[in-house]
C-alpha cells in the first residue's frame, strides 16, 4: 500500500546543510497499523511530512498504492501533534470536519452523513456545534481524528498525536485508535517517541536511528489483536517487546553519537 524507498531529506538554509533523514526504506501493507519510534530529534516528523507529500524529499521516493507521491495525495489524511493549532478556530467542530469534504466536492447529504458518523465514532456526536477551543485538549484531538476519518483515507498518518495530552486521556485515545483501526480497516502509520505506546498500538514497530535517520530495526508485535490497557501492558510478552525496542533505541543513540564523532 505504502512504499518508502531510499528516502533522503537534506535541509539547506543560511549556508548550513542539515541531513535530517539519510536513507530510509520500508513499506506498510494495506490494513496494517505500523508504529515508527525513534529517539527524540531523529527526524520522525520530517519523515512523516515527506510521506504525506507536505515536504519534497531530496532523494528517493514515496509510493501510495503504486503511485508516486508528489504533493498531498487525496487518499491520505494527516493528524498533527499540535491539535490546538491544527483545527480552524473560526469554525465549529462540525464545519472543521466538513471542510475537506467540501473540497472533495461531495454532495450535502453525503457530507452530513460522513460528519455525523465520524463524530459519533470518536464519541463527540453532541459537540458538532461547539468551537474547538471550547473543548479540552483530548476532545480537540478527537475532533482532528474525526476529520481524518470523515475524509475516508486509505492511509492515516499520525504525528505524535498524543504527546501533548495527559496520561489518562492518552490511554483513552490509544484505545480509540485501536478500535477505529479494527472497525474500519484503514492503514495507519503512527509516529511516536513513546516506546510503550508504539508496542501497545502497533502490529509492527519500526525503530529509527538517531539523525541522520536510517531504519534501525523492524519488529513484529505478536500480541493478541484484542488489547486493553490493564492486561496487555503487564503481559510478559509486552515487557519483552518493550525491552527489545528500548535496547534498539539505546543502540541507535550510541550509534548516532559515534557517527557524529567521526
Amino acid at each position: 500500500m505504502l512504499d518508502v524507498h531510499g528516502l533522503r531529506k537534506v535541509y539547506e538554509g543560511s549556508g548550513r546543510r542539515t541531513e535530517a533523514v539519510r536513507d530510509l526504506t520500508f513499506s506498510v501493507e494495506a490494513g496494517e497499523l505500523v508504529c515508527l519510534v525513534g529517539p527524540s530529534g531523529c527526524g520522525k516528523t520530517t519523515l512523516l511530512k515527506c510521506v504525506g507529500g507536505l515536504l519534497a524529499p531530496t532523494a528517493g521516493e514515496v509510493r501510495l498504492a503504486g503511485r508516486r507521491v508528489e504533493g498531498p495525495p487525496p487518499g491520505m489524511a494527516f493528524v498533527f501533534q499540535e491539535y490546538g493549532r491544527s483545527l480552524f478556530p473560526w469554525m465549529r467542530v462540525g464545519q472543521n470536519v466538513e471542510l475537506p469534504l467540501k473540497q472533495k466536492k461531495l454532495g450535502r447529504e453525503r457530507r452530513r452523513e460522513l460528519v455525523a458518523d465520524a463524530l459519533e465514532s470518536v464519541g463527540l456526536a453532541d459537540a458538532a456545534g461547539a468551537y474547538p477551543w471550547q473543548l479540552s485538549g483530548g476532545m480537540q484531538q478527537r475532533v482532528a481524528i474525526a476529520r481524518a476519518l470523515a475524509y475516508e483515507p486509505e492511509v492515516l498518518l499520525m504525528d505524535e498525536p498524543f504527546a501533548a495530552v495527559d496520561a489518562q486521556t492518552r490511554a483513552d485515545l490509544e484505545d480509540l485508535v485501536r478500535r477505529l483501526w479494527r472497525e474500519r480497516g484503514i492503514t495507519i502509520l503512527f509516529v511516536t517517541h513513546d516506546i510503550d505506546e508504539a508496542v501497545y498500538l502497533g502490529e509492527r514497530v519500526i525503530v529509527l536511528s538517531a539523525s541522520p535517520t536510517v531504519v534501525q530495526e523492524q519488529l513484529k508485535v505478536d500480541l493478541p489483536a484484542e488489547r486493553d490497557q490493564v492486561h496487555t501492558r503487564v503481559s510478559p510478552r509486552f515487557a519483552e517487546l518493550r525491552t527489545r525496542v528500548y535496547e534498539q533505541i539505546q543502540a541507535a543513540k550510541r550509534g548516532g553519537a559515534g557517527k557524529a564523532v567521526q
Binding site: M76, F78, E82, R85, F88, L99, Q103, W133
Partner: protein
C-alpha cells in the same frame, strides 16, 4: 437584577453628572464662544432639519462609505498578495512604510490637483488615507498564518480560492479588523477635512460656514452631531466586529483561562 441595575447606574452616572455640570456651568454664560447648553440643545432641531440631514449629512456619510469601502477592498486585496510572497514583501516594505508615514491630510491638496473639488476628490482622499492601515495589517495577518494550520489545509487538499477564503483571510481577520478600525477614525477625519477645504455641502463644510458666520450655537450643534456620528460608527463597527470575530475573542478568553 440588582447587578444589572448597578451596571446601568455606573454606565449612566458619570455622563449624567458631566452633562449636568456643563448645563449648570454654562447656564448664565454670556461668553459668545461658550453658549449655554440649553441654547445649543434648543438650536439643534432647528439646524439639523430633515432637509439638512439629506443635503449635508447624507452626502458626507455616502462619501465616507464609498472611500472606506474602496480602501478596504484594495487594502485587503493588495495586502493578501504582498503578504503571501516573501520576496514581494521585501521589495515593497520600505516604500509602504514611507507611504504609510505620510500624514493623510496632506494628500488633500495633491488629490485636488487631479480630481478637482468634486465628490471624486473626497472619495479618493478618504480611500487613499484609509488604505494604509488596512493594507499593512493585512500583510501582517496573512504572513502570520499558523504553519500547522497551513499544512493541515494543504494535506486535506484545501487549495486555491477555498484556501484563501476559508483559511488565509479568516486567519488574518483579527489583524484586518484592527486595520479597519484605525482606518475608520482616519476616514472620519478625512471626510471632515476634505469638506472644509473645498465643498458646497457636507458636515465639515456646514460647520465651517457656521464658524465663519459666527453662528456659534449652530457651530456647537455641528460639533455635537459630528461627535455623535463618530460614536455611532464606532458602535456599528463594534457590532460587526463582534459578529465576525466572535471566535477570536472566545479563543483568547479560553487561552487566558488556561495558559
Amino acid at each position: 437584577m440588582r447587578r444589572l441595575l448597578l451596571r446601568l447606574f455606573f454606565a449612566l452616572a458619570l455622563p449624567a453628572v458631566l452633562v449636568a455640570v456643563w448645563w449648570a456651568a454654562s447656564a448664565g454664560s454670556t461668553n459668545v464662544y461658550w453658549p449655554p447648553l440649553r441654547t445649543i440643545l434648543g438650536t439643534f432641531p432647528d439646524v439639523w432639519t430633515a432637509d439638512r440631514l439629506r443635503t449635508d449629512v447624507g452626502p458626507s456619510v455616502l462619501r465616507l462609505a464609498a472611500g472606506y469601502a474602496t480602501a478596504a477592498v484594495v487594502g485587503v486585496a493588495l495586502g493578501t498578495v504582498i503578504g503571501s510572497y516573501r520576496r514581494v514583501r521585501a521589495v515593497c516594505e520600505p516604500v509602504l512604510e514611507f507611504l504609510r508615514a505620510v500624514p493623510p491630510p496632506v494628500l488633500v491638496p495633491v488629490i485636488m490637483l487631479f480630481a478637482g473639488i468634486g465628490d471624486t476628490m473626497k472619495i479618493a482622499v478618504i480611500a487613499s488615507g484609509c488604505v494604509w492601515p488596512v493594507l499593512l495589517n493585512t500583510v501582517e495577518g496573512v504572513r502570520a498564518v499558523d504553519p500547522v494550520l497551513a499544512q493541515t489545509a494543504r494535506s486535506y487538499g484545501i487549495t486555491g480560492p477555498a484556501r484563501l477564503r476559508e483559511v488565509v483571510l479568516r486567519s488574518a481577520s483579527p489583524q484586518i479588523f484592527a486595520g479597519l478600525r484605525q482606518a475608520l477614525s482616519i476616514g472620519i477625519i478625512l471626510m471632515v477635512i476634505s469638506e472644509m477645504f473645498a465643498a458646497s455641502n457636507g458636515l465639515g463644510f456646514t460647520i465651517v460656514q457656521f464658524q465663519r458666520g459666527f453662528a456659534i450655537p449652530d457651530m456647537w450643534t455641528g460639533i455635537l452631531l459630528l461627535g455623535l456620528l463618530g460614536f455611532l460608527l464606532s458602535v456599528l463597527f463594534r457590532l460587526v466586529e463582534r459578529r465576525v470575530l466572535g471566535w477570536y475573542h472566545g479563543l483568547r478568553e479560553a487561552g487566558r483561562r488556561s495558559p
